[in-house]
């Protein structure tokens, strides 16, 4: 963070006024862009939060700020006496997301290393196969998969949710990591090996730090993809294993046909929080990767 404040200061001490103006102009352009991006990303979210805090009797009110304030929607979301399993579902989604991310990344790093670094036959076929896995309409996979999982008694189990999710994130993790691994300065790995490291050590100590931005980015993408998954979860889970997306889809109004918009928006607001925290943690890692790269 300190480096962030340092840099403009360094620039403004540049001797020429023209350069100073240019730097100022550049930095204000950055800020204008940043503000625009903030608005674009957060304005619809703002409306979600406003609705989340609104009394259900005023659901369709269009006052642009919070009116008829209430916490009820959050209470409703967590209320198990109404048959909502949102609290449990949050834990389930976190658990499933973490397992999927860790395994998906592990397998992804393995495969990507092989694809980027090793010579073997049929590489093109392997890549095609992995990519092909994200080409079939997901909706058509569910039916056969449901039959399979029913036959082996997996319906309602965690692995029935985790394993499909791993397979959904694998193509992306393998491809991203492969493309980044190709750009790594592998000469460093070679020299580390000459210095006495094993290939594994060289990979861990030299390459991984450099690849950190890519790895953490991929981790975030994988986690969110699992976090957002609905199709598989809605069919394969039960009350104990259901994920947040299913829990939210199960919210009901007090009457049939009534859309519980306010409770859905409250749940949507809550769902974002763990993700934002995670990104705030991981984005430090992205910066760390950057500086490690610069040190090289």
């Amino acid at each position: 963070m300190s480096s962030a404040t340092m840099k403009p200061a360094v620039l403004t001490t540049a001797p020429k006024t023209a350069a100073r103006n240019r730097a100022r102009w550049a930095s204000s352009r950055t800020y204008i862009s940043a503000v625009l991006i903030f608005i674009w990303c957060l304005l619809p979210f703002y409306w979600m939060v406003v609705t989340a805090f609104r009394d259900v009797g005023y659901t369709f009110d269009t006052t642009p700020w919070i009116t008829h304030f209430t916490w009820d929607n959050f209470v409703t979301a967590f209320s198990t006496s109404l048959g909502n399993h949102f609290g449990q579902a949050l834990l389930n989604s976190l658990f499933i997301g973490l397992v999927v991310t860790v395994i998906g990344l592990l397998f992804g790093v393995f495969a990507a290393y092989a694809l980027a670094r090793l010579n073997f036959r049929f590489k093109f076929l392997v890549l095609g196969f992995i990519l092909g896995a994200s080409m079939f309409p997901g909706v058509a996979i569910v039916t056969p998969l449901f039959q399979l999982f029913t036959n082996i008694g997996w319906i309602g189990s965690y692995q029935a949710l985790i394993i499909p999710n791993i397979s959904f994130v694998l193509p992306l993790t393998v491809y991203t990591l492969t493309s980044f691994f190709r750009e790594m300065p592998w000469e460093l790995e070679e020299s580390a090996r000459i210095d006495g490291c094993t290939q594994g050590q060289a990979f861990r100590k030299v390459i991984m730090p450099l690849a950190a931005p890519a790895v953490f980015t991929t981790a975030i993408l994988a986690f969110i993809s699992s976090w957002n998954e609905f199709l598989i979860a809605s069919q394969m889970s039960n009350d104990q294993t259901q994920t947040v997306t299913v829990a939210i889809a199960s919210f009901a109004g007090s009457q049939p046909h009534q859309e519980p918009y306010t409770a859905i928006m409250a749940a949507g607001t809550i769902v974002v929080i763990p993700l934002v925290i995670m990104v705030l943690i991981f984005q430090r890692k992205i910066v760390a990767g950057l500086t490690a790269g610069a040190v090289k």
């Binding site: 009110d61 569910v142 008694g153 919210f251």
Partner: protein, 426 residues
Amino acid sequence: MRNSKRLAPLAALSVLALALAACGGGGGTSTAPGGGDAANNLTDRGPITYVQGKDNNNVWRPLIDKWNAAHANEQVTFKEQTTSADQQHDDLVQNFQAKNVNYDVASVDVIWTAEFAAKGWLQPLKDQMAIDTSKMLPATVKSATYQDTLYAAPQASDGGMLYYRKDLVPNPPKTWDEMMSMCSVAKANNIGCYAGQFAKYEGLTVNAAEAINSAGGTILGKDGKPSLGTPEAKAGLQNLVTAYKDGNIPKEAITFKEEDSRTAFESGQLLFLRNWPYIYSLLKTDGASAVKDTFAIAPLPGKDGPGASSLGGHNMAVSVYSKHKATALDFVKYVTSAEQQTFFATQATLAPVLTSLYDDPALIAKLPYLPVLKTSIENAVPRPVTPFYPAVTKAIQDNAYAAIKGDKSVDQALTDMGGAISSAAQ
């Protein structure tokens, strides 16, 4: 059981090989009618699971608790699906296809009953599985009957009603034409006149079917073939098309589902609204409601008298794959008993299926709309009872929507509708 689940990857691979060889997935092949699974386990008792969509009013849990307290060896487990009707349908299909023995009793929307029955998934309720339907509303029984056999027990009904502004229109219209003539009142007050649910979804099928049936037409004939070539059917759809074109139905109504139309009426933007009974209490209590004391209800307007509402609601069906059908049947009888139906009506504002309850003064005191709803359901026509319902409703929605928007003529729309329904049934 739990331990075996842990042997995840190994089991998966070995089963993968087997399953690939057997290739037993997906198709929805049926069982033989009457025989096979439908003849098994008729007298067996034991724990069962009851499956339905989300319990909006929190009535099922207390009801099931009460049952469980009295039936120690025949416990009922409650499995709630999501709120979306489509997802409930798909979930039931998946589990019936997979012959899941744990879906013993399921709540089946009236429009799915024929489809599931024809697939051989529902236990025929005859002989030793028979239930007494003599006290139930005839329309609800019809919706649960396929090929003259009862496949489910009517459990909750629903019918459309006309909500109107009694401060602007003291006497509600009895016929469609009368209602249209009252639209000048709406114009004078600068509000929309009439709306139903005209977005392209199941609600449009409900509304289009009401228009056609109210004008004396039918969508499917007795032989299950489309019967849309009649002047009555044309007049029915024409009513909606003309009203939309004239502005008597406001233009935004083609984006309306139940909730959008309720919002419009609630904020005082509509003179007449066709909707289900569920909005009655919301109109009375919602903070944002501007019509709390100025709305009233009436039967839907028809050609010469009350119109033909489309029938909503759910039936309770026993799965042919259930291992404890005797218990399942008892549970169905318990839920459809007068006592529980009264409980549903008072706690959940679900329309009862027993005729007698609509005349119960104590109940009417609590639910003032019951007499109107009774007229509605007595005149109600089930949406087409056909095993091809998903295709039939699509044919109705697509073509009625195009006609209302003015994209094609009423004649063309009805011809296309008939053609699409015919090809679906092949």
